[in-house]
Amino acid sequence: MDSSYREGGRPRLPVRAKIATMAGGTAARVSRMAGRDGSVIGGIVGLRLEPGLLSMLAQGRQVALVTGTNGKTTTTRLITAALGVLGQEVASNAFGANMEAGLTSALSRAPDATMAVLETDEKYIPAMIAATRPRVVVLLNLSRDQMDRAAEIWLLARRWREALASAPGCRVVANADDPLVAWAASGAREVTWVAAGQRWREDSWCCPNCGAHLRRDGDDWSCHECSNRRPPVSWVLADEVMIDPSGIARQIELALPGRANRSNAVVALAAADAFGVKVPSGLRALRTVTSVAGRYTQVRRRGTELRLLLAKNPAGWLEALDVLAPAPVPVLLAVNAQGPDGRDTSWLWDVDYRRLRDRTVLVGGERRIDLAVRLEADEVPFRLVNDLDEAITMAREPVIEVLANYTAFQQYRAVLGRTE
């Protein structure tokens, strides 16, 4: 064991790392005073002074890394909530700063936390496994996302697989229903398989191992040309009910809406189980989560209730459209194509909008004409709006569902006066 290890606590940081952490903390405070969120700057400054800072900060802690195309932020929040029942401080990058600097900042801010739940960008999983030596890695799903800058997903699955195969002492919690995820996880030594469902299938019709068209039967899948098949699961989500490894079925009953969040919840409980959290108390903790970094929030404006949903890619939009209150509640769809969104709007054509034909659809965001042309092709009537207030005026309804991609969502939240 490292000589700087303190009895019963976290290892002492080398002097240089201490200075790096302090400088990072100062930078974060200055940034916050200047009105920015400060969740990354601390890590950037700290890493500049000590490039090995993240692995030093992670040493002696039990770390869970959470990744996937969709649901990372929510699942990170849910696992953090579940671990809360153990009564110890948990470090987490709760607001989605999910690259090395964000992870470093999260650990710097919580020097005494013995556990950490860290949302991690899909591309950085191999490097972050090496740096943090996690006890648990959570793999949610893998699908197309911001293709103008993200890695290709078959390639990404292969990188995950290689990184997990060579990660010692790490338990992988993975969605068995997603063939790409299952293939990536099956190289790991210890895997907890969760039947978390797969709503979006456009990226996994073919076998990631050999390329043959997969056989599918409900959530089950298998390859007829190689031995790749859905692994046997120990945690199951079936509609509103979850079944744990002991076979006990429970209603999930989250405050968060939608199938995707129930799926995130079962995965979160499977991950928390690896830290010793019992299902009943963990599930009670999950039910207290009502909003995640501003998502699923309800905001009143000029007498109208706005329900905010964020989705960044076609799989996320598909899930979000499932969550909408039924017609005739109007929906405002907003799309931007700034850097964080991906500058290409082609993904709009991967989503089926026909189910919106029977309600008022308002279209906003900087790339609203791209979306309008898409809706026209699906024969969905719509009206263009310039901003939230115009949408409220036009809809004249007590509730509006708002679904936006990343920067469009942030813009609306800024208008609503919340910069959580």
């Binding site: 103008d148 078959w154 019709w205 073919c206 991967d350 004409i369 309008a372």
Partner: protein
């Protein structure tokens, strides 16, 4: 009236990002003119029918691209259809597959169908961004606007002609973009390339169905607005 048969090849392998848009645009533009049209999706475990009118193939990653090329060569249906005079519109990875060869996942040459006289290879850096190009005047199609996202360069042989010359973006890598040969058209404009280029969609429909009746003018408004907006956003103003 005969139903126009649109065949979308291997959406399970080559449909990275919005490729469905091209099938939807062709179907809509046919329907609005009173031409009945149907889209058939052919997965990689199915035979490619040889009796389609317009064939579509989309973009994808290296491994699926190589798999698709192998299967299409073994299947033979597409080659037969093109020999018969069917129209083919190939996008991005699908475009490269129509040449004699392209670069596989480790850069090694992989055999294509040879329906376009061209060779493609991997090239650094990746070309990502808006693309604008002027179409060969012989085709009578207005300026192309789209988005490219690929890591290949393509060299045309004497049988294939460049589809267009680039104003902005990389395209084939030598100042030209895309290729056509007979009724086979290929382009690096990825995903739903026909959405912003209804003129190109109509060229394909004309080849398949002859002279086209007009569309109701109001059905063209939004697409024209999108086209103008994108061209104005990326081309330097005079």
């Amino acid at each position: 009236m005969k139903t126009l048969r649109l065949v979308w090849i291997y959406p399970d392998l080559l449909s990275t990002y919005g490729d469905r848009g091209n099938a939807l645009v062709l179907e809509r533009r046919a329907r609005l003119r009173g031409l009945p049209a149907e889209v058939t999706e052919v997965n990689s475990d199915q035979r490619v029918p040889a009796d389609g009118d317009v064939y579509l193939i989309g973009g994808g990653e290296d491994v699926p691209q190589t798999l698709a090329a192998r299967r299409l060569i073994a299947d033979g249906g597409l080659r037969e259809a093109v020999a018969r005079g069917a129209v083919l519109f190939a996008v991005c990875a699908g475009y490269q597959v129509m040449g004699h060869e392209f670069g596989g996942s480790d850069g090694e040459p992989v055999a294509g169908l040879g329906l376009l006289d061209m060779h493609s290879a991997r090239a650094e850096p990746r070309s990502v961004g808006e693309i604008v190009a002027d179409v060969d005047p012989a085709l009578g199609v207005p300026r192309l606007t789209g988005f490219e996202n690929h890591q290949g360069h393509t060299k045309l042989g004497p049988q294939a002609r460049p589809l267009s010359r680039t104003i902005l973006g990389t395209g084939n890598g030598d100042g030209t973009e895309g290729a056509y040969q007979g009724r086979v058209v290929g382009t690096y404009l990825h995903g739903p390339a026909l959405v912003r280029n209804p003129g190109l969609a109509d060229l394909l429909l004309t080849w398949a169905a002859g002279e086209l009746p007009p569309m109701p003018p109001e059905s063209e408004t939004l697409a024209a607005r999108l086209r103008d907006e994108r061209l104005a956003a990326v081309t330097p103003q005079p």
